[in-house]
């Protein structure tokens, strides 16, 4: 016999195996004969033969499989599966689902919520934990911190000589670069614009492995003495300011008053680490000879091949020890630590929050699957007839299970597709709600990883909710005679579902309650100051224009006067920091009178002008506020807060006591006590603080704090105008109301709490539907039994108790399991929302109470129906 061309042979595989075994070779032979005949006829006949021949295979295969071949020789006793059987199963499944629209819709909606929420959360997790930053071999990038355990300082910024010592003296690093974030005023346009910039050693971008999209990167030559002033800009800056002009290289821009030539443009997808910076300026000079005391740089390193984080950590410590012995004055007690860059960017909270959310949404998905499984089981009796018929026609149990799994897969896929839409919008909303403090380097676009994950979730969900019902429904015991009655055994699976759902709901509810309490307590926490009606804005006059402290003080004083004259302003002041801005500094003081000046204690330092405390509605409890008389040449005075008095002065009267600050000679005299208030962050306790008159310690960049009786947002424009009236070249930036600042700082907690709350609510709905469904199914299954009991004289209330009792016992067991599971979750949440006692029963009781009610109602409704069963009708339907 002749063999047909490969294409035909390949297409032959479409035929059922038995048919192919019996006739395959002869089919090839016949096809070759067709081809030979067509060649004799010539023309397009060969093409026609191919077309008709292949169509014949496809149609024939379809006919063979659908009809079962029509005869006894159509053996379909095949194990395993090939593509065709699956396609047939899916077609059959689609038909089966269409026949039960209510069940299908309920299952799909449930799965849409579960899979959608899971995928959305994974988008977040993916961005935080997996999605690359876009740098070369990111796993070898590390952050290096200075540490000083002797003085109790952790994660201190490094000095340039430190960074260069690690770079050059240690084999563990292929390279080390230093950078610091700077505010840059761009005067290239008509209005000065404040931009985020990075000041860095020239090896920073090569270390990260970032190539500019246009022009060149920076090199050591750019930091040499007398090198021309150059800058590399972000893609965004190039588009916004340089008009996306490819010839813009070589353009001069004026940054902080200095003209700089644009030599490079970074690629569009480049994101710098913590901040979405626009401007990259090389630090001029030799880092070796830079200041040994300016701890103002971040050090980022690339591990040498063969080095690990641990070995680099040891190497960095060794170098720091050498530095400490070489420069005992500045470096005594300093050591170093190395941490993977992603871990550094993530911080302590974000990664854990991602894990908690993923676990929580996983529970939601599990509950959704449990509900769908229950839905499918509820049709078990109805379908057992169908299954028995198919089994009688020769379908094995494996075949029936596969058929039912195909249905599950269809449900799951449709739910997954709809869930993807939910996920796209959900993740977008979530990303919008992320705190602005989250480093810019994280991006949350959908990618293949998310796609693969959601496909995996779809498959896993189908397995989880489909397998138990499939095995149950395709039970060989289901025979034709009993099919009409639904002779399913009483299921442990049903009770298990209730326990599982209750337990998961408890966990999620506890999580939701804990987070809600956390946010409420953070929101309503006594800040000490009054956010209502407060607007804040930052200004940064250039030191080139205002070279001395007196001049800059004079500028700011004139700004304050101009702003005070704006109608509606009731108070105005300035500080170098402000609450929630997180930029007040730490220092140490020696309490002169307390102990001959040997013990140093840490304090937070805020510089302020007269009017600042009024603007925030902070009270001076003792003594006086600072005044304009507290000038640079006047006596050094200081205010302290209540915590300072309590902790360092033992509650004794602080007025007129004095202390020495760092190495200064003049003592500072305490002239007033300010009420305690939240300074760094809402979740940080109040620390001992001192408040220094700005005039005695002038800062160039200051934050204006303005109070008005009206809408603070409306003050933004007049405030800008007032500043421009004093000096139009000074940029006004970070214009935010105090409420906006609070929201900003609460961003992470808000989002976490909102999501946990949503999951808790979802779990409640899924849980109540599930408990109701399982109980209702039990009642339906036991209708005859109940009817019989009632006919034999059982009290309806006893029947009710018996039915509801089963469900309530399962709910109670679920409660216990859930509470046990909830304890570690609450612990993890507590670590994120400081200051909340998550183990207090207040967090657990509402969850337990709500679930008892839900479980009770879910069990009672079907039980009541059971007790009203009409025994006559039930039994006569036999």
């Amino acid at each position: 016999m002749r063999r047909a061309p490969a294409l035909y042979r390949w297409m032959l595989r479409l035929q059922p195996l038995a048919f192919r075994r019996e006739f395959g070779a002869e089919m090839e032979d016949t096809f070759v004969a067709h081809l030979a005949a067509a060649r004799r006829r010539g023309g397009g006949a060969v093409a026609v033969v191919w077309f008709r021949g292949l169509r014949d295979l496809a149609v024939g295969a379809f006919r063979e499989r659908r009809s079962g071949g029509g005869g006894p020789s159509a053996t379909r006793r095949r194990r395993g599966g090939d593509m065709w059987d699956w396609i047939m199963d899916l077609r059959y499944g689609a038909r089966a689902l269409r026949r039960r629209p209510a069940l299908t819709v309920a299952a799909v909606v449930t799965l849409t919520l579960g899979i959608g929420a899971t995928t959305a959360i994974f988008t977040l997790v993916n961005g935080l934990l997996f999605r690359p930053f876009g740098y070369d071999d990111e796993s070898r990038l590390v952050q290096i911190w200075a540490q000083n355990p002797e003085r109790g300082w952790t994660d201190v910024d490094v000095t340039l000589p430190d960074a260069w010592a690690w770079r050059q003296r240690s084999d563990a690093f292929a390279d080390v670069a230093a950078y610091t974030y700077v505010g840059i005023t761009d005067q290239s346009g008509d209005v000065p614009v404040r931009l985020d910039g990075v000041w860095h050693t020239p090896n920073l971008l090569p270390l990260l492995g970032v190539e500019p999209m246009l022009g060149r990167g920076l090199g050591d030559a750019d930091a040499a003495d007398g090198a021309p002033a150059v800058v590399v800009v972000s893609h965004g800056y190039w588009e916004r300011v340089l008009g996306a002009d490819r010839t813009a290289l070589g353009t001069d821009v004026v940054l902080n008053g200095q003209p700089r030539t644009v030599v490079g443009v970074l690629p569009p997808d480049f994101r710098f680490l913590a901040m979405d910076a626009d401007i990259f300026v090389p630090w001029p000079g030799d880092p070796h000879t830079a200041s040994l005391v300016e701890h103002s740089w971040n050090a980022v390193g690339r591990l040498a091949s063969g080095a690990t984080v641990a070995s680099a950590d040891g190497a960095a410590r060794a170098v720091s020890a050498a530095m400490a012995s070489e420069h005992p004055d500045s470096h005594e007690g300093f050591t170093a630590s190395v941490i993977p860059l992603r871990q550094e960017m993530l911080g302590d909270v974000a990664g854990r929050a991602a894990g908690v959310l993923l676990a929580a949404v996983g529970f939601v998905l599990l509950m959704a699957c449990a509900n769908v499984a229950n839905l499918l089981l509820s049709r078990a009796s109805e379908r057992s007839g169908e299954m028995a018929v198919r089994a009688a026609l020769g379908a094995g149990r494996g075949r029936l299970v596969r058929q039912l799994m195909a249905e599950a897969l269809l449900l799951s896929t449709v739910g997954g597709a709809a869930g993807a839409v939910v996920a796209v919008f959900g993740s977008r909303a979530m990303v919008a709600g992320l705190p602005s403090t989250l480093p810019a380097v994280f991006s949350f676009d959908l990618d293949l990883r998310v796609l693969a994950f959601s496909v995996g979730v779809v498959l896993a969900a189908a397995l989880v909710f489909g397998l138990v019902p499939a095995l149950r429904i395709a039970r060989p015991a289901a025979d034709l005679r009993r099919s009409g009655r639904g002779g399913l055994p009483r299921g442990r699976a049903a009770g298990g579902l209730v326990v599982l759902q209750t337990a998961l709901a408890v966990v999620l509810l506890v999580g939701g309650v804990v987070m809600a309490r956390g946010v409420v307590s953070l929101r309503t926490q006594e800040m000490g100051w009054d956010a209502q009606g407060v607007l804040s804005a930052r200004l940064s006059p250039r030191s080139a224009d205002y070279p001395t402290g007196e001049e800059v003080e004079d500028f700011h004083t004139r700004v304050l006067d101009a702003v005070a004259a704006v109608p509606g302003v009731t108070a105005v002041g300035a500080t170098q920091s402000m609450p929630l801005q997180g930029s007040n500094s730490v220092g140490s003081i020696r309490l002169a009178e307390r102990d001959a000046g040997t013990e140093e204690v840490p304090v937070r330092i805020t510089r302020l002008t007269p009017g600042y405390l009024d603007a925030l509605d902070l009270q001076v409890l003792q003594g006086r506020d600072v005044t304009r008389a507290d000038r640079a040449e006047a006596e050094r005075v200081v205010l302290v807060n209540e915590t300072f008095v309590a902790r360092y002065l033992g509650g004794a009267s602080p007025l007129d006591r004095s202390f020495v600050w760092d190495d200064e000679d003049d003592p500072l005299r305490i002239v007033g006590v300010v009420e305690d208030h939240i300074e760094r962050a809402v979740d940080r306790p109040v620390e001992p603080s001192i408040y220094v008159p700005m005039a005695q310690m002038p800062a160039w960049t200051r934050t204006l704090v303005v109070r008005t009786a009206g809408d603070p947002g409306a003050l933004a424009a007049p405030l800008r105008a007032a500043v421009a009236g004093v000096d139009p070249s000074v940029a006004v930036f970070d214009v935010l109301t105090m409420r906006e600042r609070i929201s900003d700082r609460l961003g992470g907690f808000d989002l976490l709490a909102g999501l946990m709350g949503a999951f808790a609510l979802l779990s409640l709905v899924l849980g109540s539907v599930g408990i109701y469904g399982v109980t209702a199914r039990a009642v339906a299954r036991r209708t005859r039994e109940i009817g019989l009991r009632l006919a034999l004289g059982a009290e309806p209330s006893a029947v009710q108790r018996a039915i509801a009792g089963d469900a309530v016992r399962a709910v109670a067991l679920g409660l216990v399991v859930g509470l046990v599971l909830a304890v570690p979750l609450a612990g993890a949440l507590r670590a994120m929302a400081a200051g909340i006692d998550t183990r207090s029963p207040v967090s657990f009781l509402p969850a337990v109470a709500v679930l008892l009610v839900v479980g009770g109602v879910g069990a009672w409704l079907p039980a009541r129906r059971a007790s009203r069963i009409d025994p006559v009708r039930t039994l006569s339907s036999e």
């Binding site: 016999m1 002749r2 063999r3 035929q15 048919f19 019996e22 006739f23 070779a25 002869e26 089919m27 090839e28 032979d29 016949t30 096809f31 004969a33 067709h34 005949a37 006829r41 008709r52 021949g53 169509r55 014949d56 295979l57 149609v59 024939g60 295969a61 006919r63 063979e64 071949g69 029509g70 005869g71 006894p72 020789s73 159509a74």
Partner: protein, 115 residues
Amino acid sequence: MSADAPLKPQWFQILLALAGGPLHGTAIMEEVLERTDGEMKLWPATLYGSLRDLESEGWILEAPAPADAPTEGGRRKFYALAPEGRAALAAETRRLAGWVQVARERAVLDEAGPA
């Protein structure tokens, strides 16, 4: 299958081909192709599906291969007409002949041009 129902055209042609003696699948195809002037092409899946069905109807039987049949690359399966098949073929032929008779009486062919 009732003998009154019309036969599928390809079944009719297969039975007709086998009326001349045992043949294997490809030979049946070629015989039908030739006899119908290429009008009826029995494509493989259709052909062997039909053969399988005809065999299970009991209308055709597997026949021993003739001694001179080539055996290269596997044995071809030969089919022969079973008595039931012959009866079905005869019934169908009579049915068709009845229609042909009616058409003749109405002189369909005389006006319709070339026979």
